[in-house]
């Protein structure tokens, strides 16, 4: 139960952050969606052993989080929750890939450990980018941006509907689950039979709710489309945001900035 209430709170917090009104929030949602995609593509396109070249990419989340006034700890915690999943598959790399690639003095680093580290850094960057996108744009705006970029209208309407009823349904689910917990006397639920009928009851109630919603919407003239409250224009600022960041990502992808800087600082022969 704690998990359900916790999930709802998390959800609300991201939605609340999107209500901000900073320079990043005001950028057209399309530009932000495309920059996020460019970022993720650039990050995942590196070879599996690349580590140093990934570090410059931390600039993007750092700058956006600062300009968008996002709580760093909150975002970091959300990323931490997801990292174990990447670790679960990545932890086999050191076992299967033991060829030594780097020697740092007495320390020999195998390809497996290197690629594991690379996976974790990638995961941090890509997960962070997605969370930041929602936090500075807001889910409905992202949906409308995707709609303008050519996503089928039906899918847009579906996403908006889902977002709207998520809170209602998760709260109802949470209440139902709490009621079950109270009758389970410390056991983890009451087995799959009661789980089945619990879900069925929730489903039937959901179904009736959907019918009522539909009638109410028809009464208010719903024709199958949502109309966004504010229409946005893709201006010069948005274009500069898109072009600037995409260009920078391309630069980071082509030039290993870490290596370059390290060579300068250590005076090595790189």
């Amino acid at each position: 139960m704690a998990s359900i209430t916790g999930a709802i709170t998390e959800f609300r917090q991201l939605d609340l952050l999107a209500n901000g009104n900073t320079s990043v929030h005001r950028i057209d949602a399309r530009a932000k969606v495309l920059v996020t995609l460019a970022f993720i593509l650039a990050v995942v396109s590196f070879g599996k052993y690349e580590l140093a070249a990934l570090f410059p990419f931390f600039l993007y989340p750092a700058v956006i989080m600062a300009l968008g006034n996002l709580p760093v700890r909150h975002i970091a915690r959300k990323i931490l929750v997801v990292l174990p999943f990447a670790l679960m598959v990545g932890m086999f790399n050191p076992l299967f890939d033991q060829t030594v690639l780097i020697r740092l003095g007495p320390l020999a680093v195998s390809g497996g450990w290197l690629s594991l580290a690379s996976i974790m850094v990638r995961a941090t960057l890509t997960v962070g980018a997605a969370l930041i996108l929602v936090a500075v744009t807001g889910f409905p705006a992202i949906c409308h941006a995707l709609d303008q970029l050519g996503m089928p209208r039906i899918f847009t309407v579906q996403l908006l509907f889902l977002h709207r009823y998520l809170f209602v349904l998760t709260e109802e689910g949470g209440r139902t689950a709490r009621a079950r917990e109270l009758r389970a006397f410390g056991k983890k639920g009451l087995g799959w039979r009661s789980y089945g009928s619990l879900l069925s009851q929730l489903l039937l109630r959901t179904w009736l709710r959907a019918e009522r919603i539909h009638l109410a919407m028809l009464a208010r003239g719903f024709t199958g489309e949502f109309h966004p409250r504010r229409t946005t224009r893709f201006g010069t600022r948005d274009f500069l945001f898109l072009a600037g960041w995409s260009g920078l990502f391309l630069f980071f992808r082509l030039v290993n900035v870490s290596q370059l800087l390290g060579t300068i600082v250590t005076g090595g022969r790189g």
């Binding site: 995609l37 790399n93 996108l133 929602v134 539909h214």
Partner: protein
């Protein structure tokens, strides 16, 4: 079973995005033809239902671990394949954006594995024929069980294929499949049990819901042969595309760069910007001669090794510096923002 961005190569991610986008466009068209207005809010609310249901756990008998509903097959039974596919896709989008389950690049894979496979393969080709025209509780149970298991096995195998084709994880195909398939056999049994329980319950309480979908032949009208040919074609195309990418070049972007510049790589460290900067390196270097000198175990012919050592030290130092600079610039911007505010 969510795929993660970190384990995915752009070629595989992009191909699966294309596949899933195609499936969503196809399902949207289907749905627009059939749309009775009531389905839009129903899909939305049922998506939220699946979302909520996935958070409620139950104890799996005899194991002590807990499981939850996936919901792909259940939605297909309640809504039909096209609507189910779209609904699951929407749930996955929300999970990717708000809970960072999977990721944005992996979204294509996840929609395909968890949405398209159960709703558009397991439901029409396994569940529907097994239930037949006259559903009964036993038939529903058997059909849901078989369809859920097959759907999850397909999904798990797709995860294995996508991960191995990406080549980021070092897990060999056989080992990974040997790990994934048995686990998902168990998960499939649970999914089948719960789906059967819910569908039977709904069938007894409100039979018209199940029957209306049973009669509406969304995908059923398309002959099996045509659908199979379509999937075979898509599979060949995908396989060819991915293997071509994988064999020619490890990543798509490098390939694109080679196409654009006509060179395999842009100016390498020796000739390009690096060399020009080398001139004033000495004056800037605040950690001069920090490159580790070999202790002299292999006195000769270690130039290559040493320079690779030097470059890896430079990589570590430079990487940490870059990271620090990236984070500091964020900190600086934040300070300034606070001052302005």
């Amino acid at each position: 079973m969510h795929m993660a961005d970190a384990l995915l190569s752009p070629a595989v991610g992009g191909t699966m995005w294309a596949a899933s986008a195609g499936a969503i466009i196809y399902c949207s068209r289907k749905l627009r033809q059939e749309m009775d207005g009531g389905k839009a809010p129903l899909m939305g609310v049922l998506g939220a239902f699946i979302f909520a249901a996935q958070m409620i756990n139950f104890t799996i008998p005899a194991t002590g671990s807990s499981g939850h509903l996936g919901g792909g097959l259940l939605l297909a039974v309640l809504l039909g394949p096209a609507a189910a596919c779209i609904t699951i896709a929407s749930v996955l989008v929300v999970q990717a954006l708000f809970f960072a389950d999977g990721g944005l690049l992996a979204l294509g894979c996840n929609i395909f594995n968890l949405g398209v496979l159960p709703a558009c393969i397991a439901y029409p080709f396994i569940y529907k024929p097994l239930v037949g025209s006259a559903p009964s509780t036993t038939r529903i149970t058997v059909a849901a069980m078989v369809a859920a298991i097959v759907g999850l096995q397909l999904g798990a195998f797709a995860v294995v294929l996508e991960t191995v084709a990406s080549g980021i994880s070092a897990l060999p195909l056989a080992a990974f499949a040997g790990l994934m398939q048995p686990i998902h056999l168990a998960i499939g049994v649970v999914e089948g049990l719960v789906t059967a329980a819910v569908v039977s319950f709904v069938y007894q309480a409100r039979p018209e819901i199940i029957e209306s979908v049973q009669q509406a032949r969304l995908l059923g009208q398309t002959p099996l042969r045509k659908v199979l040919a379509l999937f075979l074609g898509a599979a060949l195309l995908t396989g060819g595309f991915v293997s071509w990418f994988a064999s020619e070049n490890p990543d798509g972007l490098e390939w694109a760069i080679a196409k654009v510049t006509g060179a395999e790589e842009l100016a390498g460290p020796e000739q390009g910007l690096h060399a020009r900067l080398a001139g004033f390196q000495a004056s800037i270097a605040f950690l001069p001669d920090y490159t580790f000198k070999q202790s002299g175990q292999q006195p000769e012919n270690k130039a290559g090794q040493e320079s690779s050592l030097g470059s890896s030290v430079a990589g570590v130092v430079g990487g940490l510096l870059t990271l620090a600079m990236a984070l500091l610039s964020g900190l600086f911007l934040r300070r300034r923002q606070r001052r302005v505010a």
